[in-house]
């Protein structure tokens, strides 16, 4: 499995384009910051634990989570439960609605109960969609699961799938 820098890329719904333009400058600073801990995790270093969101209503609500072959035009393509290793990649697509305040979510990829990689993703109000992707190799065949957790490690959903021939 090869971790892709694109996996930290964040997408917004179409009607938020104005917001995107206004904050593009800010994102130019945020994205490298957001990506750096991902690389840190890949390198085996621990992330600092963010402060607990005490009020449950302030936590983001996971509205959709699916495994798919690709994400195109902000939508998951070819969702499924089994993916061929010949596809070259598999994505974990999640969308949150609402997102009361900017926060972090994690996609934790497990291959047969063993943590393979973890992707830190930033989500923003009011709604946000994001995904992580792994590149597939022959040794990645077998059962997988992705745990979607909030910044405090609370598991929001678990997606199970398999990588086959």
């Amino acid at each position: 499995m090869v971790f892709t820098p694109l996996s930290g890329e964040e997408f917004m719904y179409g009607r938020q384009k104005k917001f995107l333009l206004l904050t593009s400058a800010a994102l130019a600073i945020i994205i490298p910051i957001a990506l750096s801990p991902v690389y840190a995790q890949v390198n085996g270093q621990a992330n600092p634990q963010p402060a607990e969101i005490a009020d449950p209503s302030q936590r983001p609500k996971l509205s959709q989570a699916t495994m798919c072959e690709r994400v195109d035009n902000l939508a998951p393509l070819r969702p499924g439960m089994v993916f061929s290793v010949s596809n070259g990649q598999v994505c974990c697509y999640t969308s949150f609605d609402p997102v009361p305040q900017a926060t972090l979510v994690y996609h934790r990829w497990f291959h047969r109960d063993e943590l393979s990689t973890q992707t830190r993703l930033r989500v923003y109000p009011p709604r946000w969609a994001t995904y992580s992707v792994i590149q597939l190799r022959d040794t990645d065949k077998g059962p997988w699961r992705v745990e979607i957790t909030d910044q405090n490690g609370r598991v929001l959903n678990v997606l199970r799938f398999s990588i086959a021939d």
Binding site: V82, R112, A164
Partner: protein
């Protein structure tokens, strides 16, 4: 003196019991087999074995090998050739006689009564055939005997051979003062040089005498003569005294005092008992007290008294390397399983426990001693068994169908309860099924498969089904989805 006392202090009570038991076994072998040919051959084999050991110890390679071969063959031969003697020695009336009893001296044969009756029968022209066995077993030579066990008396002998008696034609076997069998058929002699006046009775007498060490007396009913067959000879006795002397000589009956005979018998048995004790003591010390051989072997580790709340999660080693010393005979005879390292877990706690391996932990056969052991400690990790409910996930393998998409999968039951060590289960989040092949799927349906518990120490809770049903939904891929 102090050295001797020190030596005595090393002898355990078990050692004394060991020597006494084996001495008694040797003594019983002597008592039961004394006087038989098998015993003489047994003594010969023992001598050969001693010779072989001596030859081996002084380096006579060929001699030791040759003697070993002879000893092995002789051991087989003694069982085959002397099976009847062995059987008769071991066929005692009860266990008590076998273990404790002494062969009672038979009442001597009343030779005078026998001789007088024999001549009385000769005078009356009553045919008779009397067999006096010696040490050889006659079981293979005689046939058709009827057990009798009557005391020898003139009336008894006359009545057996009385012409109208149904058993008068056969021979009788006399042991001590008892007629043990009547109507016995003897093998006939094949000799061609016998005078024509000797009939079947004389041929039978000679036939048995030729084949054994028994003495057979034949009384001719036609000529009224008394003939004795001994070895290859047939001798006619006209004088009762001569016959009496022959029988006494054959039965080794002397006119000594019975009290003296009993004294001699007691002395013989006492000497045999003392010799048995001395021989066995010598063998015992030879076997156990020489500590000339050192060997090393891997001993399995056995864990005992494990508190029920714990399970053994892991150990630093499964076996220990023990170096032992003792006599070469005992060291050579060591078998796997005789040496054991036993670790008592009664005081163990959850997590890592370190147990030292000392002399007290190692079970050794008697006479074998510990020199050293490696490792000197064992780490034992104990865990508390818990029950955990885990989701079941299908392990799909093979090539997914080209134009179909596995859209939905549902496993029944979705979760399964397993029992295992808490530290093991901490790292287990999913129970996977056995691999389910995708190649053959062409429409939605269900398959039944088994669960694979990893690590194998995990167990399903009782009454759980090891099989799960996988329901799956296949959907046609949209044209745009096909690649």
């Amino acid at each position: 003196m102090t050295g001797f006392l020190k030596f005595l202090s090393t002898i355990r009570w078990q050692d004394l019991v060991d020597i006494i038991i084996n001495s008694y076994i040797l003594f019983r072998v002597y008592v039961l087999f004394h006087g038989t040919n098998a015993f003489r051959v047994l003594v010969g084999i023992t001598s050969l074995w001693i010779l072989q050991e001596v030859a081996a110890s002084i380096g006579l390679i060929l001699t030791s090998w040759a003697v070993r071969g002879i000893t092995t063959a002789a051991a087989v031969i003694i069982i085959v050739v002397f099976r009847n003697e062995i059987r008769s020695a071991l066929q005692v009336r009860n266990v008590k006689t076998f273990i404790w009893g002494f062969p009672t001296r038979e009442q001597p044969t009343p030779v005078d009564i026998v001789v007088q009756t024999v001549y009385q029968m000769a005078k009356k022209r009553i045919g008779a055939l009397l067999v006096f066995p010696a040490k050889e077993d006659l079981g293979e030579l005689i046939h058709g005997g009827i057990p009798w066990h009557g005391t020898v008396s003139p009336e008894m002998l006359l009545s057996i051979f009385w012409p109208n008696n149904p058993v008068h034609d056969g021979a009788i076997i006399i042991r001590g003062n008892h007629i043990v069998e009547v109507g016995v058929l003897l093998p006939l002699s094949q000799r061609q040089d016998l005078p024509s006046y000797y009939g079947t009775r004389h041929r039978a007498a000679l036939g048995l005498a030729e084949r054994s060490d028994a003495l057979v007396i034949a009384v001719s009913e036609e000529r009224g003569r008394v003939t004795a067959a001994n070895g290859n000879s047939l001798t006619t006795f006209s004088e009762p005294d001569d016959l009496s002397q022959l029988i006494r000589q054959h039965l080794n009956i002397t006119d000594g005092m019975p009290a003296d005979a009993q004294k001699r018998e007691r002395l013989r048995l006492s000497v045999a008992a003392v010799l048995s004790l001395l021989v066995m003591t010598g063998i015992w010390f030879g076997f156990t007290r020489s500590q000339d051989t050192i060997t090393a072997l891997n001993a399995p580790i056995e864990y005992v008294n494990r508190p029920l709340v714990f399970e053994i999660l892991d150990t630093s080693t499964d076996e220990a390397r023990v170096q032992l010393y003792g006599s070469s005979a005992l060291i050579k005879s060591l078998r796997p399983g005789q040496v054991l390292v036993r670790v008592d877990l009664s005081k163990a706690v959850e997590g890592r426990n370190v147990f030292p391996i000392t002399q007290d932990n190692i079970i050794l056969p008697p006479g074998v001693f510990l020199n050293k052991v490696q490792p000197s400690t064992i780490d034992v990790y104990l865990d508390v068994p818990i029950t955990k409910e885990l989701p079941v996930q299908v392990d799909w393998v093979g090539k997914p169908p080209e134009n179909l998409n596995l859209a939905k999968v549902n496993v029944a039951p979705e979760t399964i309860k397993v029992i295992g060590g808490s530290q093991i289960l901490q790292h287990v989040s999913t129970i996977y099924t056995a691999p389910v092949r995708l190649d053959s799927l062409d429409k939605s349906g269900s398959v039944t498969t088994t669960l694979v518990l990893t690590p194998p120490s995990l167990k399903l809770i009782s009454n759980s089904n090891e099989k799960v049903t996988v329901n799956y939904v296949l959907e046609e891929k949209a044209n745009s989805d096909r690649r």
